[in-house]
Symmetry: D2
Subunit: 451 residues, 4 copies
């Protein structure tokens, strides 16, 4: 890989690092297991995360939500060091071969730090906008494993094979499944950090939970046929894990599914789709990047081209596209820049059922078309589904008691038993403001909200 | 009433008051509607609340929980001023006759301040210990209405009839039911303050919720046959009221039903019961107060006698009773002072069902008796039942939407729908430590915990 | 003015607004005096503040510091509403002609919201980089007063003359000087918000102070020859104002003068200077904006050209300049993107005295030149001076006591008396890393740090 | 020693302990060095601290300040474990003989836990009330060293000599002076905990500082003739130690020297003095305890008698004394119970100088006497002196820099240099309310407050 930019040389000295984090306070990467973080910090692929906001367009609804993937990466690595401290203190519960080695620990911290390094502009948003574009997991894997990246070079400088092992951990594969699950699972370092960080930045307090107590409540349960897995101390930790899961539910309801954000996200996806269409029609907009050119041809973009993309590129491009000859493209971009967002109408009851959605959208499109609007770009049906708490029934999180057998979390929790597997689904018509009154009149059903 | 103590004269000047509260920050009683609070603060019956801990014996499990009923009274009055601010800002939604008058407001703040003024030693604990003793609601009513109290005198100095009206408000009676319900209801100033205060003092963060946002989400719903009631803004307030109710659930699970607290509470109830028995048998313990003498005779204590009781009296009395000739009394008191608490064994499954409890207790008592213990005082069956969210089906809290009809909270909340009416029930055997092993062996059932 | 972008039409309905702010919690612009804020929010010049970080490059040292001027504008307007609440509650202390009218209040909130609307990329940084470029105060004034801006149009739609009056308030001119000083003065809404916000975002807790208590401690002092001014209640407010001023001192020491930030700031200033030089030499870099073209000619940029500039432009431009033919420009840009920052060496004692600085810089430049470096771009002498607490002796903040005369703050404060007028001065050599060892060896004096 | 109470037996099992602390969150005593804390928790002398409020009568001014010495003891032990973690991470800076052994660590945690175990009722207040009564340091020493106490027994069960070594540590004597100074010194675990805890409980935010960052900034400086001492990392820690010391200054100004508290404290001292006088005159009040009987005879109370005293005793006794035949005693007690506190008048300028204080008091006493008051009990001159930052010039806290020599803290801190050695002195006349107007008129000088 060659990102095409000027290569900066830097002496490879041993570095220790402490820094202030608004969520965790003092964050220290000084222990041997943390040694890769200060080095990885210099990687261009990591510094790029400074230019990608964690919550994409959420700052349009919550002005404080400007925090970046970079800060989240640091936070996730920090939570991993806390988790490793806890796991070390209970490793006597495990046979020696199931304990975490110093190398495991070092690579787990690196994996936590890099777990989201492949995100594109506005985090999840970009990958959903371009048909055929690989998801961020693909790019994360590529960044860690491609011999041309700074990240790869730094990992391999530690020990040969490090990059492959870290990539495997991020994918959820490891000799110790409980370690892999702590990078990505029901309770993982990613969720631990993002819930706290998103709550801190948005000012929505419901995302708060008691991280130190939750970590202290972790145990390791050696299940007969499954091997050791993270488990919860039933005497101390039930409210902690419940509050963690409920915090996530609240953040979905309050922030992640916010109507203004969903409307803006659809607008940006429409912008990118339209820009690609214009390019395919021979009217390539300014600032149209190599990665999209490649994607428009149905080829997978090179890693170098992908890494050129970030929020600053998207902002600059959309600003340029305000002057594009295509009125659809220019209009959407101008609206986004001045926050003249599309409106939403939430649909309830029968009309919102999966089987009715096709007819609902067709109806809305007809209304828009008859009013002279663009049925593709002026109206959209947005469906969001979240399952706040779910687990595979054959691999549930277990709760341990001083006496008596281990039991699945969902069976011992008053709250979680009642929401296990249940989904929250929100259906909204997203529409240009000039069509709102007409659509509201046409689509208003008798229903009204229900749980 | 004559409390028998030295009467202190004080000039009845107009007083304004600001103070620092660890929960709410700056607390100000400067507005006209708050004018009674600075005056009531001087009442001896109110100052007595400084000597009564809000959470009784909870500090045995959470060392920070030393906060008093006095601080809670200030906090509750403060929350009422915030609530009145909100109600004023939406009073245009109501016909004039349903709006809160300045007198209503002044008396609502006073009612909030006095709503728990009748609590006895260790708050709820004392009233449960003495058979036939009226509950704290009775004493609150008496303190407000008895012409001999400072509280009564101060209220009546404001305007004749104030005391009766404030007492009615505390009992939940008012021309404006929504005002009465804000003193005591599903969402009331009592819960608002105690959840935050108990969370702050114990260090258990789950009691936290977003009070300003919740207050801002309040609306008034004018139901056809019920008159105006507090309601929730469906566009803004659903997570706020959900988090409030879930916070209460968490506080029950984590704090209010804590096993050490429950064990200690039973010990204190046993101490008081035993002291009364000893008195009835002609062996009156030292520091045996007039209120208990009266209660032991089956007569209701005078208000003056009741007001002599507080945590300091109970602490001093129990210390004296360590030297009582009765070994049961002296032993329980000595254990409590040095925190050598009784142990608990939680019972699950079939054995915990209401129908089995008689047999369970009998079995436990037999074990204790056969081991030479006291079957009445060395073992106890403790049952706690909490319904985290319940409402009368004919008077639910309503949620209002910009469009569409008002709907009951339980129907529109993903979480609350699933827990409405459900109860948490905990059954524990409480026992002197010396009987634990024997009882654990005898009572251990196959079960184990379940939700 | 014509910003050249697509104009978005929006119906001018009355809007009320509440939102969540991570610093202040619930922020409400619902009162009549706040009516301009929801409307101004739609102005393109205000939305532009979303693309300008409050603390410029500080996120290179404190990863959380991504908060924007937009969030600060909201916070400052919110603090103004709190301040107006306080001033209203004490207006009886003033003659009627010195009281704040509803129009004054409305315009004060608007002025608070707009006080920094003219900031350029990376806030203060940009204006210091381009010789002859007007300061942000100029641009703020222009945005408010130029009849082509959304801001102007919205203000004038409220009442003719509003824009001029708001502009005057921002400049510190008003019939009521105490109102003007609350927009900009020793204690003003700008400082109140930015200290708390910067502390929240960086995780540096020293910027915290007790805003509600400080506001409650404000009084108005009617000085004989000066007219009414904000003053402090000596019985309540001394620690509050002291803590406010000490918080500012700590934030300077800890954040605003951080060595990594200062080094990065110098690098960006060097980048812009070099880009302008290259343009003047006929080698115009890509993405070189109209505003800089105009500035390079010594003409003041048009407002439209200025408003095109924001952090996203600068990020994109510097990324493009990594490929510029000029090695100085490309190298600085590449270093910044990958955070390979220049190093600093703090100078103490004699060498740091103002009289010695010329010789110090010359010495450093010689060292760099002899090592083959660029004496203009590879080394720099950075001097920062802050006076934590200073006031004009003829217009000090006064402290009022229940008895006795008003006294200047500096005379009654144990802490402030001791730091009044004293300055903190930091002198650092900023240098490319490859010259560090050589420069450290050459410049190391015997001194060492002293206060 | 025999406290005369019922001895409770408890099995001496190994115990590990975690608990929730409102200040520090999760507090864990699970490491080997913490093993004594769970055991010491059962000691009756430690449980007694539950009945002694940390801030004495401060809750009369700050209703939240009900926290106990018991919670502070836990917090101080917790801070010691954090400090030991830090010291371990830098022990390579010290020769082996200067490093902390496991036994040192275990005893340091015990010393931190026990450092205030000898406090009497209302903490500092009691010891100042009774002439000739030993200070709390004496009683702490006695509790640790007396072979009759639970504390002694538990310490000696760990290893012979433990009690003597722990007592020496509390007195500030240890082979490693830096360890002794961390129990009691400029920066010690006592201050660390009480500043945070008092701030948390009172709601006064100025006591807050960044403990984790401060601990991380600690280094050990091996001074030539003094041996190793705790020092500050000049690159990281200056604002942290400054904020710590300024927090203490603010807490003195705001809380510890609060006028209502000072007035109430004088009242309680007067009550105890008067009760002792009455006893000496043959009119022994009720509840007059053995410890005071002994003190009244000029003999040092036995440890057993001393340990019977706590806040509950004092509250009960003062309540009983409201009915004492002596009007001075009964009146003071009644005033305290209903919070009808004495008033204060702060004296400034010439009148407040040490040389003038005798005349000032005489003048005040004359005024009171002539008005028919009691010149001994109705008026008092209260002088409080605090030196916010002071160090012996031959043993200052040093600040270390990467390059250059270590320098004393006071020389490198802008703030501390300016307050080093300076004292805050407050002189107030304390008086019965009925004498206030008269005394204010008589004592009002021209002065007014000055710094």
């Amino acid at each position: 890989m060659d990102t095409g930019s000027h290569r900066v040389r830097r002496p490879a000295t041993v570095r220790r690092m402490i820094l202030r984090d608004p969520v965790h306070g003092l964050v220290s990467f000084e222990a041997p297991e943390s040694c890769l973080v200060p080095r990885l910090l210099d990687a261009r692929e990591v510094q790029r995360l400074r230019r990608i906001r964690q919550l994409g367009l959420t700052s349009l609804a919550f002005p404080g939500a400007e925090h970046t993937r970079f800060a989240h990466a640091i936070g996730a690595a920090h939570v991993m060091t806390l988790l490793l401290d806890r796991l070390r203190s209970i490793e006597h519960m495990l046979p020696v071969e199931h304990r975490i080695t110093p190398r495991d620990a070092r690579e787990a911290v690196a994996a936590a730090f890099l777990h989201d390094v492949g995100h594109g502009p506005l985090s999840h948003l970009f990958e959903e906008s371009v048909p055929g574009l690989p998801k961020h997991e693909h790019w994360t894997d590529a960044i860690v494993r491609d011999s041309g990246t700074d990240v790869h070079r730094i990992l391999e400088a530690q020990a040969e094979g490090t990059a492959e092992r870290v990539a495997a951990l991020v994918r959820g594969e490891h000799r110790l499944p409980y370690l892999a699950h702590s990078v990505s699972g029901l309770f993982d370092i990613d969720r631990c950090d993002y819930l706290l960080r998103d709550a801190h930045a948005t000012g929505v307090r419901y995302g708060d939970f008691d991280l130190p107590w939750l970590l202290r409540s972790l145990l390791v349960h050696d299940a007969p046929h499954r091997g050791p897995e993270l488990a919860i101390d039933g005497a101390k930790g039930l409210p902690a894990i419940e509050a963690f899961l409920i915090a996530r539910l609240f953040m979905f309801q309050q922030v992640y599914l916010h109507k203004a954000t969903r409307a803006a996200e659809w607008m940006v996806r429409a912008v990118i789709r339209r820009a690609v269409e214009r390019h395919q029609q021979g009217h390539t907009p300014d600032h149209f990047p190599a990665a999209l050119r490649e994607a428009a041809l149905g080829t997978r973009p090179t890693l170098g081209a992908y890494l050129e993309l970030d929020d600053a590129w998207l902002t600059t491009a959309m600003h340029a596209w305000e002057r594009d000859a295509d009125p659809i493209l220019s209009n959407l971009c101008a609206r986004l820049r001045s926050r003249a967002l599309f409106k939403t109408l939430e649909i309830f009851g029968e009309d919102a059922k999966p089987a009715s959605m096709g007819a609902l959208l067709a109806h809305a499109q007809t209304v828009v078309r008859e009013a002279g609007g663009d049925e593709t770009y002026d109206v959209h049906l947005d469906e969001a589904i979240v399952v706040p708490f779910n687990e595979p029934s054959d691999d549930p999180m277990m709760v341990l008691f001083a006496k008596g057998p281990a039991r699945p979390l969902r069976e011992v929790s008053f709250l979680l038993e009642r929401i296990a597997g249940a989904s929250i689904r929100r259906v909204r018509v997203v529409m240009a403001p000039e069509h709102r009154d007409r659509l509201v009149a046409a689509l208003r059903s008798d229903g009204g909200p229900s749980a």
